[in-house]
Amino acid sequence: MFRASPMLRIELLCLASESQEMALLLARQGDFGPAGPAGGAGAERYRELYLEACARLDKIMEYCGQHDTAPIPDDAIAPNERELAGINHRLQAIWQACSGCHEQEVRMAEEKSRLEMLRETYARLAALDVDPARLLRRDGLLDSRLGQIPVANLKRLSEALSVAGYLLTEFDRAGDQAFVVVAGPRSDEGPAADRLGGLLAHAGWRDLPVPPELRTDPSVAAEYLAAEGRRLEGRVADHCELRERHWLQHAAWLRQARVLLALARPLAESALVGLSGKGQLVIFSGWVPKRALAGLRAALEVRFHGRYLLTSHEPGPADAGKVPSLLSYPAWLRPFTALTRGYGVPRYGEFDPALFVAACYVLLFGAMFGDVGHGAVLLVAGLALRGGLARLRWIVAAAGLASVGFGVLYGSVFGYEGLIEPVWQSPLHDPVRLLKLAVGFGVGFIAATLLINAYNRLRGHRWGAACLAGDGLAGLLFYLAAIVGLNGWLAGTGFGLGPGLLAAAAMLAMAVWTGLETAGTVGERLVVVLVESLESATKLFANTLSFLRVAAFSLNHVALALAVFTIAGGLGTLGHGVAVVLGNVVIVVLEGGIVAIQALRLMYYEGFSRFFAGDGVEFRPLRLVAPETRSGT
């Protein structure tokens, strides 16, 4: 529970022609996590085909809005490279058809919104005192055109056109599109295309079709738009039919392809890491939990009848930092591991803080939110959580239970302090005592985190960092000596020579270590040593004072309840009841939420940031799973 499960490094040799079957067996077993360099096994091409095929299948499924899952038969075998290439090729053809359809849909949607805009624009154009038919005549003196461009390009296009002697006038705007007239002198210096080049294309220009009779008969525009609308609707209907036909034509094969890709996945994943080879042989390298090795051997024997060679050994110093962490927890602790996982994974061999964090979090929450009534509400609410929030069920329930416990200590039920006798004291009874206790808890918590950090480094054979770093034993010595000294100073007995010398020696050790660890010039090192030593020292005490919030929030909880009763006291009987109920709801929801975040903040910032890098490698065994597909559109 406090460390990851023991692992073994394995090498598994087999025939290259059976590599996809070997990968499939390892995935079915679910105990092999590939690791180490890959290459030479010829699986790169397999992986590339697999990834291409998966990407295409995903896109097809997303486009068709289909995302059902198909079961994988127990006796199914993985496709070889040639079969996979065939699957990929067919998926490419299907996706190209779908992609064409999709592009059509996008264009039709754009066309639809364009027709809507045109409807408005024609109405305004008809009201202009200009004859568009004459304006756009090819034999006129003006080279003019009507069109639309994104509003963002308007100013720049107008300036650029002025260089060629053209004038741009905006006559309408709809959304991010501006409708404009561009006009310039028709000259003998070559056609307009020569003078403007690709300017209009750069600006996202689209010509605006104007029926020639628009000026003389406004109803022509309406007819034109209606005809365009009918044409578009016809295209949409044809398109929907085409899309449906596509799906019906390929649905059965696509389901089969998904199963085949799921079977191909183990080898495709291994190609990236842990699979190497030469000639007709390949080697799967990786990690297996010690307890699973016998089961794996048995399964290999049944399937391959000796056509393999399996070797295993314990991780050595060269594997430091590479061994994956397989973390197993008792069922009651599992829901709380989310608090640790939110930050990262402990390294193999390091202290796993899941229990420490769960206990501290629940304790801190209870201390800050101590009330029998509010805690009971949280307990019931937590147990009632369903759906996506169900994973928080036991964390909320345990926090509620801790609140009930501290409520008994504080003698508080829904803010009423006279209903039960406090086993300890109400927070308001002696706030200073509470503040001292909070700081004391903070000192213990920070000392524990420094100790854990030193332990982790010692486990990793990083002796120097464990002993001399600011977040190692030197930091712990400095911190405790300074705390003892400050305590004496506050009590009037002075800082004391012993604590002073110890703190100074520890600080010197920290400075030397920082100097050694910093790369750069002497000047650069000096600045870093000065800044970081000062920061390490001040940070420890700032972090300690951070725990004052534990006392502050427990006082705040009582103060909020008092505020509710004060408001309720000024109201009639009914108003009093409503105010008390509403006030308690606000306390549970609002303050409960804030306290939950504050407790988590204390864990992450004052705790994890000190001893838990969270950069361990999680053990991820090969597994047989269906390819991921996004939900349909």
Partner: protein, 337 residues
């Protein structure tokens, strides 16, 4: 924290190689090169000197620049931080262009991946998903759903109308630089005149070089050239640029420049020479900003400009040596006397 940034930038001064150190790299024996690079704080380049893949050298240079930018970003917040983050996004715009080119050429996903720069912390795009688009249209539509929508939207519309890869590249570049100018303008009032001076150099230099290339190399009409330039507003004003794009030849353009820009270009006749002189001048001015204390953000930007130029010079030297070019030619290309 700006004092900290200022100090951090000052400490980076030792990473800018003086000319003599660069020259030493040209003259050194092959066996000495890795050692010299390591001594100069470029262990990352030393490790790859033996590689034959020039792209890997480029990737390592970008990695160094991004690592240093990340250090400089630490004390920054708000619009100043956004500006410096956006400064790094040109590497991702370069990735976008590589993706588009690869898609046009029908390259495989693996071949495309080899062309992309690894931007680590600064990466915003899901390159894997983008690489698996079937064609340019699908790729552009996907890009429009990313942080680069603003940059890509115009490019897609323009590309759909013309199917011209040049239009795509030009529109992407312009959209990126316009975003940079907009972000700089938003903070110039609070950061002091140093940032405005650096941006003026960058924008004016880019506009002038693009103007000359588009007008006289590609033969585009003046109106189109004007449209493709960055939003003017520094020394090259809109009115002046409209006049310059109408010039008949390079000499006409140079004659129309304000004295401050014309002086360093006196006697230049070819576009590469003009671009080179403008770049050298911009680096001198960046060095002046870097040496001026007080404006931390401007100094940080100046450092990044100088550092990138220095690293690219080193890349040129390493490549030249690998190709077996004469020492004198390498010296000339690197601008080392």
């Amino acid at each position: 924290m700006h004092v900290y940034l200022d100090t951090r930038v000052s400490l980076f001064r030792s990473r800018l190689w003086p000319a003599a150190q660069v020259a030493g790299l040209i003259d050194a024996a092959d066996a000495e090169l890795p050692g010299l690079l390591e001594q100069g704080g470029l262990a990352l380049l030393a490790g790859g000197y033996a590689d034959d893949d020039p792209r890997s050298l480029e990737a390592r240079i970008v990695a160094i620049l991004l690592d240093e930018t990340r250090i400089l970003l630490r004390p920054l917040a708000g619009p100043a931080r956004q500006f410096l983050v956006y400064w790094t996004e040109r590497f991702e715009v370069s990735n976008v262009k590589s993706l588009i080119r690869a898609k046009m050429a029908g390259d495989s996903a693996a071949a495309t991946a080899a062309c992309l720069l690894d931007l680590g912390y600064f990466a915003h795009l899901d390159a894997d998903a983008l690489m698996r688009a079937e064609d340019v249209t699908e790729l552009m539509r996907r890009l429009e759903r990313t942080d680069y929508a603003e940059i890509v939207r115009n490019a897609r519309q323009a590309f759909e109308e013309s199917h011209d890869p040049f239009i795509l590249d030009a529109t992407l570049d312009r959209a990126y630089f316009d975003g940079l100018v907009r972000r700089a303008r938003a903070i110039e009032a609070t950061t002091g005149p140093g940032l405005a001076r650096l941006m003026a150099d960058l924008v004016d230099r880019t506009n002038l070089v693009w103007l000359l290339r588009y007008r006289f190399n590609y033969g585009l009409p003046p109106a189109q050239v004007y449209y493709l330039l960055l939003t003017p507003g520094y020394r090259l004003t809109p009115t002046l640029l409209r006049r310059l794009v109408g010039a008949e030849d390079i000499a006409g353009v140079l004659a129309g420049l304000p004295d401050e820009l014309a002086a360093p270009l006196a006697g230049a006749t070819a576009i590469p020479e003009i671009a080179d002189r403008l770049e050298r001048r911009a680096l001198e001015r960046a060095w002046a900003e870097f040496s001026r204390r007080g404006e931390a953000l401007a100094r940080a930007l100046a450092y990044l400009i100088l550092r990138e130029a220095g690293l690219r010079d080193l890349r040129g030297i390493l490549r030249g040596r690998r190709l077996g070019l004469a020492r004198q030619d390498i010296r000339l290309a690197a601008g080392v006397a």
